[in-house]
Amino acid sequence: MRLTRRTLIAGTGLLAGLGLPARAAAQDGEGSERRAVLVVLPLVRKDYVGDSGTDTPNIEVLRGDSLRFDRVIPESMPALPVRRTLVTGMRSYPFRDWKRTEGMPAVPGYNPVWDWQPVMMETMGLAGVDTVYVTDNPIVEGPRFGRVERPGGSVESAGRGGIEDEIAAIRRATRATERTFKAGIRELRDFSGFVGIDPFDPVDAVQAPPIYIKPAEVDREGIGTMNDRLVELDWGGDQVDDLRSAYRDHVEAVDEWFGELMDAVPDDAFLFVLGDIGIALGEHDYIGRGTPTSHRESYEIPFMIRDPDERKSGDDVDWYASTHDVAPTILSYLGLTIPGKMWGEDLTALLDDVDEDDLYDRPFSITASGSLIVVRDKRWLMVADREEIERRLYDDDEEVEDDITRFQDVANEDTGQLTDMSLAALAVAGGTLPEFGPDGALRPPRERGDDDEDDDGIPNDFDAVDNDEPDDNDDAEALGYDGRDAEDRGAARP
């Protein structure tokens, strides 16, 4: 029995030369010549890279050189929560920490990095590693984030009037890429430690992206109000063509700039390249970023690691890696101890020959956008609101070619999947999903129409104490909370 198990893991060695476990390297980073670069490709969908209609030679070259992850969706959406996850290594899902923040949209997930969260750059800085982060993201600001370079983007007016505005948003992302990559190239000339190059459209910090959907679909899909992001819109095929053409231009422009950036990335640097979020381009009657669509390609992002020693170069992995794995992985590569609060996995294990099946089990890919959660595996995709009043389940079996069957909601059929996926979503959230009021995550949740007789905000069913008639045992006086009471009750002097 033992023999078998040992035999299985024999050969998954991780200590060959460079594959030191995180703590084996110098804790203070001294003596380490290692350096790492993080590059974000804004709004790039995985299926558009290497697609026949899109010319992306530079990203494809990197893909050939990298360990790539084929089934990555960001663990929370849209663009702003993704950034919080990237720099903290903590899951932002399910936005339990959401508090309405001035200057940000009233949508769960839109808040700054809190003081109690770890920050990748701070951990590096404390260990004496130089860092610079190039971005226009306003939440990456303050002493904890190390040196931050602003490429100089400004908030441009953004409408939500339809396809034209969505095309304008895509173009803004293109421009953000251009200026951020240019600034990044300057930083890459001569650097040590860590450089992050993260194009960010500043509008994404002050406005949540709209979700366009055809009017007939709203009732049928039962997607609710979506924190006011929902816009009903009827569009024609020409408009979708325009949108896709604009998007293709964006991906190609990003690729072109990425090529120039890659010329500046030294060969001895560890390189982590990923998209931030996908975009729905009219598939399944949805348009927008971070939408609750049943179309899985709208979520998937490119996600690649290039190791300077070419370990696992060209390999691909199905394991459900996500954005919260980025910070732990980079820290581990630099030989730093990963703060315990970072939830992501250290993906350098894969470079050290650990098999993806031996990584810690992650049976589903789970993400949140606003008040919605999306749970996915290779076949099934569930979209639910967190009260689980609306749950949609799609049997997206790749073997089935008939689109009608593939994308019908089968939540009412007894597949067992709905339960499994809901439980997984709850487990990752720590046991419960928060509900949201106008100002933040609610404690506790209120079921709609619940009675609350003593008016303390806790529904009767879950209220241990009726405040109008407190139970004697729960009464402060009865429990002797006062010090003198305790003595009366026979407390002996220690």
Partner: protein
């Protein structure tokens, strides 16, 4: 301080980290299996010693009181990095064990659902399916794993998924008061047999059955000190060392349920701890002075002399534990393992012995008697031997530290800190406050302040530890900003919101 028996008699530990030349063990490979390469080539072994219900202030190294006769633990402390302010991240026994085994915070019990086979109350659940287990991770990294315990919950029906991860599982079914969970054997003693343990005010309580079960078990299975639960557990640990010494690197957990009540150390230790007083003079030895989990002192109607005797009986149990910890350490020394083994010692919570008018453990009285536990790590090279750290080390830090010192990657879900950085001259990420929970109560504080609140936040009690180290006088009314700050600390640590629990913990937590 007490005299140094045990360890130091051999002068081995006193030498403070004999040269570490032996650390690179070529012995890693044996003829039984191909050496797995997942752990570091020079990975030291890990021995994790856990004792239940152990207050730090009853250990000589923490509190040099003449009552505390713990020469072996003191010697271990002298060779260890000692954490002066260790607080388990969640309590009591069940949740603390989960954190010790998974490295995942149980706080704030958001995933609680009432579970058959475990007590009803927030925090009492098995190890959830999606959480890692340290012995599983170690096993996959090629480390031989062993665990011996008499903890009724760990050997009970709900921790099977933990036991299955072990190469060597040595359960010991010897805990009288809790044997009903395990049912390997049942022959309760007669009522008259237990009269000498029974306080008059408990004569109608559930403790009657427990004491009868314990006395019945003892009459059959306990004919010498070696048959006491602690001795049984640590003896199996000592035997396991013999099995494991050729299968390095190994992990050995030795987890004793004592000094849990009943406080029945062998008679000779009880006598050594002090003289009969209070109710004992009337012929009743108060080894079970409360109805588990707690009684008010006033309700069991004992005088302060009897409370003093209860403390002595508790100290006697710790001395008995200490004696056996010494034997375990001597075995490691005899086998020349101390130079290549990291030894961890920690407890899961304390016990209130008359303070605040309580005997036992009560969530609403989870002051320092409950939350301040011993914690020490003995580095094989003697690094930081005899030093003290005031980091708020916790139960969930232990698994990551074990993995790290063995060169094994910790799963990301293990959200404790890697304390091994201390041995390299580094510091773990700042932990400004300690936070913990016990049933439906929450704890937060630092060296100056301590707040104890119920999870709904209706009653928040604040103690100024600088002027009131016993945490008796609630000063919440005068320091609202500190109360708010600590409540915010709890919410932040919980990820934004705190869960609420149904009445009496009989319902699953819903939301929050």
């Amino acid at each position: 301080m007490g005299s140094h028996r045990g360890l130091t008699r051999r002068g081995l530990l006193g030498a403070g980290g004999a040269t570490a030349a032996a650390l690179g063990l070529g012995a890693c490979g044996d003829d039984y299996f191909e050496p797995a390469t997942d752990h570091a080539d020079d990975a030291p072994n890990a021995v994790l010693i856990v004792s239940d219900s152990t207050r730090a202030d009853y250990i000589g190294a923490y509190n040099p009181d003449p009552r505390n006769k713990t020469p072996n633990l003191d010697a271990l402390a002298k060779d260890s990095l000692m954490f002066s302010h260790a607080v388990p991240e969640a309590m009591p026994t069940g949740p603390a064990r989960r954190a010790l085994l998974t490295g995942v915070r149980s706080f704030p019990f958001r995933n609680y659902v009432p579970t058959k086979g475990l007590p009803v109350g927030p925090g009492w659940i098995p190890i959830p399916d999606f959480q890692p287990i340290v012995t599983e991770v170690l096993g996959e990294a090629g480390v031989e794993t062993a665990y011996c315990t008499d903890n009724p919950f760990l050997i009970g029906p709900r921790f099977g998924n933990f036991r299955r991860t072990l190469d060597w599982a040595r359960p010991s079914y010897s805990q009288g008061a809790y044997r009903f969970l395990n049912k390997p054997f049942k022959r309760p003693a007669t009522r008259s047999t237990i009269e000498r343990y029974l306080l008059p005010d408990l004569s109608d309580s559930v403790e009657v059955g427990r004491l009868r079960a314990m006395a019945g078990w003892n009459s059959i299975y306990r004919d010498s000190d070696r048959q006491y639960p602690t001795a049984r557990v640590i003896r199996s640990g000592i035997n396991l060392v013999d099995d494991l010494k050729d299968r390095r690197p190994f992990f050995l957990g030795v987890d004793a349920f004592d000094p849990h009540e009943p406080l029945d150390a062998p008679r000779v230790y009880q006598i050594a701890a002090g003289s009969p007083k209070g109710i004992e003079l009337e012929g009743i030895t108060p080894i079970q002075p409360f109805e588990t989990p707690y009684s008010w002192v006033i309700d069991v109607d004992v005088d302060s002399e009897t409370v003093e005797r209860v403390r002595e009986l508790y100290a006697a149990e710790i001395t008995f534990l200490d004696e056996w910890v010494g034997r375990l350490m001597n075995t490691l020394a005899d086998e020349n393992l101390l130079d290549e083994t990291v030894v961890y010692y920690m407890s899961d919570h304390g016990l209130t012995l008359g303070e605040h008018g309580i005997l036992g453990k009560h969530a609403a009285r989870a002051q320092w008697h409950i939350y301040h536990v011993p914690c020490m790590i003995r580095h094989p090279e003697g690094k930081l031997a005899g030093q003290t750290s005031d980091y708020f080390a916790s139960t969930h830090d232990i698994p990551r530290t074990i993995l790290s010192l063995m060169g094994v990657r910790a799963p990301g879900q293990m959200n404790g800190e890697d304390l091994s950085v201390l041995f390299d001259g580094g510091a773990p990420p700042e932990r400004r406050w300690f936070t913990s929970c016990y049933d439906d109560h929450l704890l937060a504080g630092d060296t100056d302040w301590f707040m104890l609140a119920d999870s709904e936040g209706r009653l928040k009690r604040l103690y100024d530890r600088r002027t009131d180290p016993q945490e008796v006088h609630d000063v919440a009314a005068g320091n609202p900003e500190m109360v708010d700050a600590l409540w915010q600390v709890l919410e932040d640590e919980a990820g934004g919101t705190l869960p609420q629990f149904g009445a009496s913990g009989g319902k699953a937590v819903i939301g929050g």
